[in-house]
């Protein structure tokens, strides 16, 4: 039975895409462990493959696998959202079909994310998706070149197609964009989801977001923040949210490489390899990651015994950039 997006009161977790070091192919063994990890995280659902999954760097068949495999392994009670974003309508419809077959409860898409496009093209694209499915469609509104939509444009799409009725709003600065969209919304917009790593959980909730869609490495913690907000316990929500800010800062700086690093420490991933973005993580950055881990580890609850956090040691054998020419500030104990 189709599950409702209105019940996504917290986190839809995004799986990172695990790559093998040898040939950058997807490591399905690790992916399986990752979905099991998301299952244990007690979030509201799964949304895949998204920017944090490096979806733009996946081939078409990889795109489909990153829908099929996670949906097959995910908990039955999880809401499942398939990302069908493509650069042409026919490919989007192919992903839509894959999503529907795999049991999607909803689909999400940005406007066509490469090549020229215009407002008419965006309408045409979302219209084609909407007309080919009965699933609810979520517009992901991000600041890719030429694709950021104004609230008026978003609402026009919602008014035009009955099943286009959600927006994942993260045009920078995200909380102001959500506030603006929320203040202008009509009944045609059923709900708003936030993103941006959960950097603004409290403001997002205050501005009307139902939940947030984020990379999974600490989505168990973020879900607790949203639970507390829904319980009306702002103080506790705020305290927990504030504790996560240094972590989200690093995710926003280092992207999937950071998220994968944390998943290595949590015992899920084997490496932090990403496609196309390959700058070495500096020694100083790794030290910073260590400290983020020290900060986050105590916040982890309910971790089953089978997969206990591997912690700081897990990264010890990991490739580290050569010592920079700058002065070395940390001694062996990690103090200045």
């Amino acid at each position: 039975m189709r599950k409702a997006l209105l019940d996504a009161k917290g986190v839809l977790a995004i799986p990172l895409t695990p790559f093998r070091e040898s040939d950058e192919s997807i490591d399905y063994g690790v992916l399986e462990k990752e979905i099991e990890f998301i299952n244990r995280s007690d979030v509201k659902g799964i949304c895949t493959p998204m920017i944090s999954s490096e979806f733009m760097t996946l081939s078409e068949s990889e795109r489909e696998e990153m829908i099929r495999v996670p949906f097959r392994l995910a908990r039955e009670d999880y809401i499942k959202v398939a990302n069908v974003a493509a650069c042409n309508i026919n490919t989007a419809l192919r992903y839509l079909e894959a999503g529907e077959k795999a049991g999607a409860d909803a689909v999400i898409s940005t406007p066509p994310y490469c090549g020229d496009l215009d407002a008419n093209g965006i309408s045409h694209y979302f219209g084609a998706i909407a007309e080919h499915t009965s699933l609810p469609v979520v517009i992901q509104n991000v600041g890719l070149p030429n694709t950021a939509q104004t609230p008026a444009q978003l609402l026009r799409l919602c008014e035009s197609y009955p099943n286009i009725r959600w927006v994942k709003e993260e045009v920078v600065p995200p909380p102001l964009s959500i506030e603006r969209l929320n203040s202008l919304r009509t009944d045609a917009l059923e709900g708003i989801m936030s993103g941006y790593g959960g950097f603004y959980n409290l403001m997002d909730f205050a501005n009307g977001a139902v939940g947030t869609i984020q990379a999974c490495e600490f989505s168990d913690v973020t879900q607790r923040i949203w639970d507390l907000m829904y319980q009306g316990n702002e103080r506790a929500a705020r305290e927990l949210h504030y504790l996560t800010l240094p972590m989200v800062q690093m995710e926003l700086l280092y992207g999937p490489a950071f998220a994968k690093d944390m998943l290595v420490r949590r015992g899920i991933f084997k490496n932090r390899i990403t496609r196309n973005k390959r700058a070495e993580i500096s020694r100083a950055a790794v030290r910073e990651f260590d400290r983020i881990w020290d900060l986050m580890e105590p916040l982890i609850e309910n971790e089953g015994s089978a997969v206990r956090p591997a912690g700081r040691e897990a990264m010890s054998a990991h490739r580290v950039a050569p010592r920079s020419a700058g002065k070395e500030l940390y001694d062996a104990e990690g103090t200045f």
Copy 2:
């Protein structure tokens, strides 16, 4: 036998991708006519599928077809360059294989054109392509976000891999970018190709470009400009080049929709449908296209009897935007 890029003394023509009105699928019948048209244009070769071919909006199988079909149909003496640009290495290698099987003389690629990337990722990407082929590799340097390379970065790639030795340089402003690259070039850079619709043919040639890669709708005319330049007849080259400027202006404003419109008038295409960019062409713009056609038609030579220009009438039944609210400046005869 492999043909040398150094012989591309003029135009490598880019086929536009013809789409069916019904479902936006590729119209292979029209594509066949288009390649025959390019064969008659007496240019130096073919380069496919490029930005003018809307390559970013093609599916992976369409990408391969847009290499295979044109290469199979193109004149034997034409130099054949396959665009292998992709957003991940493995897909680029797949296009590379398709290109090699289809008889490519060289391959071309931008850096990965969507998703995050960094300088290390760009090196890694071009390195992988270079190592998987013995064909010469052309770096296409355009101003996509994060991907524009400095001359130093381009030359470093050329120095690092023996078969990376060409650059198609069109970072805005293109003639200044070509001039700069040319002034800093080393022996590792065998040649430079220009682009940008041939808007700067004379400057490109003066700044060391061997030829230009451009959409095919008037590449027969552009080839004559380059022939004249190579013959040392600057005056005649310049005169012909200047006559084409109003046409290139329109191509830069309207992109593939303009090029396809001209190909309808030349009797090759059936429509000017493009993917994702779908703003109506206004009545005033169509009138402008008419005048461009009046300007270009007399420049067309050697057109075989089988495919005579269809001219202005060819577009007459074409969908035109509703009359704008602005005052109507043209009377029925197309004068003010």
Copy 3:
């Protein structure tokens, strides 16, 4: 008596700001010659100081002088428009006062062009200008960061203040922006002016522009194009317009440095020095300027005997970049 912008049927000429080589101060002797030159050009008026005047690099007192001096010297029958654009309201009002005292017929302004701003700030800014003057206000709509206005925003300003009723529209691509604004215009918008060096004179006119505001180096020629269009002689207008395209191409590539180079050849300026943009003009570019001059010189009419074109020789003693490392393509006669 105040002259009406509706009579600006052709060119409002922008004076370039002449700088002394010694200390980059304004050379008022040259400025005087330049205004006399504009007076002889038989255009419709003068608009100063604009982007072509490098207004953003002028000090506040220089800004005022670049209004006062040109207005004092300009022909009485010329329409005079003062640019009051500033980064805060109080400074804009100071320029407004200078403009009014100097006899402005209208004022023009972009939104505040540096520092943070938002839509409310833009309204507040134009509102303050409108309320402090009875002169018509022209909104200059260009693509500076955060400042490009949609037609809806422009029209809202026009509806809100009775004397805000003109737009100089040049958001890229300019002819499409003008077309769009014209198609949506209401009675609150009295007129549209184009710009962009006159690159799209014919389309601008067709899309409803009353005239164009452009750097003065060949505005005598451009005025003739507009005269022909207003006389209904499209063919002749188009021919003359097309002849100017190679020149406008260079202006768009090299900006005020090109315009000043041409003014040296016309016997008005002593050098082509610009502030802040100081890359050497290459030997190849100077050769290209020579050819543009060869192309434009025959189009110049009515040039008084006192100031005859100085021509190619005028630039001969001029500083030229050292010979580039690239191969030398032109021989002494300027052929390949």
Copy 4:
């Protein structure tokens, strides 16, 4: 006696520019209170007027006053840095003279921040400043269009002029830019300062920054973070730094309006009026500011009795945006 930038081990505080509600003129009475507040903050010095001071919206005379007044009132032992950034050299030299007369220990500048410029123009500009003073020159490297400099360009300027030897590095993402610059630095670069509101204090210090230049509203707290880092007490520094992150988040979202709001609560400012950026602060945002204040107030130490924090009530009579259409999430007690 001139004070050394190497002693700026912590914060150089930036005064916000207080504007009168009536006419947006500078309120010098408030400015005097603000400098006294900075004096009590026990930071290392003062840097004025910077982006947080809305310097780009100040007139030339206001620019000079925002150097003279703060320098005259600032503690004698404070390091004083004058911002001389301008859009032309002569105006920069005028600010330089004002700074020197007012007792500056160093000057800072971005490249010319409006109008066209190129690499030669940037060298020419900094060269002119360097040659007209014996003061150390700090290059502010931010991501204004066309102005972000690579480490190589920055170091070339440092190598070329003996007194250009500091960089305030905040090209996004700032900590990675500082790390990169630090790893490539030569002896010609004496020191690096960070900025960006102190969002990355720990990473900045680890990457070699001597101190940070930030808006003053909580620079007393930030100075304590740097003191702890210099004392080698990373744990305490990190704890205090983390406590400030929610506050810096708001400063990055709302800019000077937020900083001024906090200064109202600290009893210094009378309003949060900014120039050009005038969107209403929503009711929800003000509630968020309240909570930031609740978080920061306990961190304030050593506040003299004369100026005690005015707190949340100080803003109560303040203009608030009309209630949004969105659902009201907070009840009267400020819980959800």
